[in-house]
Symmetry: C2
DNA sequence: CTTTTGTGGAGAATCATTCTTACCTGTGAC
DNA sequence: GTCACAGGTAAGAATGATTCTCCACAAAAG
């Protein structure tokens, strides 16, 4: 944990370690609020403001990402920084991570061949809306 | 305009017509605030609360969509309800609509063949992050 | 015409997020 | 060790977007 922070150029303070750990432990795409609750379970003196600021600095240095959400009234963070896609269940509003290297390759190839006018793509993320079936 | 509202099952009031027109006129993905300003230019008596409520009801009946945005501090609406993708410029934070039927077909085929476990996809939207080049 | 229902305006209330301020802690210079 | 400093943190105020409440009004139904 300390190494990851150091590698990112952040001082490995107690709070940052806790917040990073909490983020990794929490499933899915937690909000700042949820991270704060998780942190509080361990150390009840960390303030919500610190969680916000720390998460933002994590995003800045690439330790975490913000996930886009159309209806969210609040921001969500994703500790998985590798490229991946999202399944969005329109019933439960759940967002599920989805990883598929074949799909990545397909998309990458498509844009390598076709190209985009006036735009240099760096990363792709497919948002798949639908419903869960049992 | 009236027909579109009626078809969606909404009473075609003066305010709704105005808001729908404003939404169509505004380029890109306006915020409720921007729609309100546009509406005010024409009829300065429409309240911001009405714009919010009306936009939400438009989303409910499918007259408009919310666009997902990772860093947005506020919601944005998209009057273009056809399937399309988004180019996101990491420099200017601009979101540009991008439409490509070939790409749609490619993705559709991929999932038609492969399928997803426990998930029935309805629509796809690709988020392409990168930078604009002149 | 009267009743019923849906709609809109104004502003208060709420919620997430950011900012401000003052305090604290670890670090390096001496 | 001690001093000064820089960065980090807590607490709460401030902000900004969104939602809610409440009342008035207008349109449709009977």
């Amino acid at each position: 944990m300390q190494q990851r922070l150091a590698a990112a150029g952040l001082r490995a303070t107690h709070q940052r370690i806790l917040i990073l750990e909490s983020l990794l432990v929490l499933p899915g795409h937690p909000t700042a609020e949820q991270v704060h609750r998780q942190v509080m379970a361990n150390t009840p003196t960390v303030s919500l403001g610190t969680v916000y600021k720390t998460l933002d600095s994590f995003v800045e240095v690439g330790l975490t990402k913000r996930v886009a959400s159309a209806d969210a009234q609040c921001r969500r963070y994703d500790s998985d920084c590798s490229e991946h896609h999202h399944l969005y269940c329109t019933d439960t509003k759940e967002i599920i991570d989805y990883c598929n290297p074949q799909l990545d390759a397909l998309i990458r190839d498509f844009f390598a061949k076709q190209g985009l006018e006036n735009f240099q793509p760096h990363s792709f993320s497919l948002h798949i809306a639908g419903t869960r079936v049992s």
